[in-house]
């Protein structure tokens, strides 16, 4: 069997050409009429608030989501190989994974109960 990733590379190349080509084409075709207002931030037409430095900040709540996400992402990372090898790992795998899920559930329950999953 040939390496299945080679077609993927070809696909990637084609997709990249497409994506870059589209941008390049529009850059060539499109008009160039510079305007100070045009390149200013859009804030519903009012004068943009001056933003300091590079960019605004992600709110803290976002990090909370990210952290919780990571925990479950890890779970998924382990679940996939196990699911694929479910038959082979047999009872041992099943019990181990149930334990694992239970252990992941504990902090989930904790977070829920303690208001970590309240969004507002």
């Amino acid at each position: 069997m040939t390496n299945p990733y080679v077609p993927l590379l070809i696909m990637a190349a084609v997709a990249a050409v497409m994506a870059v080509g589209g941008l390049a084409a529009s850059a060539f075709i499109g008009p160039k009429r510079y305007n100070r207002v045009k390149v200013a931030n859009y804030e519903c037409g009012i004068d943009p608030t001056p933003t300091a430095g590079s960019a605004g900040r992600f709110p803290v709540k976002y990090y909370l989501i990210a952290m919780t996400f990571i925990i479950f992402d890890i779970e998924v990372v382990f679940l996939y190989p196990w699911a694929v090898a479910f038959s082979e790992l047999a009872v041992f795998g099943l019990v181990a994974m149930l334990t694992f899920i239970a252990l992941i559930t504990v902090p989930y329950v904790y977070e829920w109960r303690r208001g970590g999953l309240e969004w507002d």
């Binding site: 803290v60 952290m67 990571i70 925990i71 890890i74 382990f78």
Partner: protein, 99 residues
Amino acid sequence: MSLVHYLVLSGIIFSIGATTVLIRRNAIIALLGVELMLNASNLTLVTFARLHGDLTGQVIAFFVMIVAAAEVVVGLAIIVSIYRTRRSASVDDASLLKS
């Protein structure tokens, strides 16, 4: 492309990560440096797993990912809390402990 290349690559990435931790003062960047180091380790592990025809390396890579994730969670929590206090994530700004 021989396996050595992968090792060299991972060595380079590891060094970049380590350098980042050592010279960048922003805690989050430093954390990223650590992540880079971990990823270099993962690359090494997977390469060797391939070399030895032994999945152990890949399994360890899984665990390293877990470790990385756990570290990110804990580290991010710590850094966010300190950031909220000081409005800065710089390691140097947090220097009350310098003697």
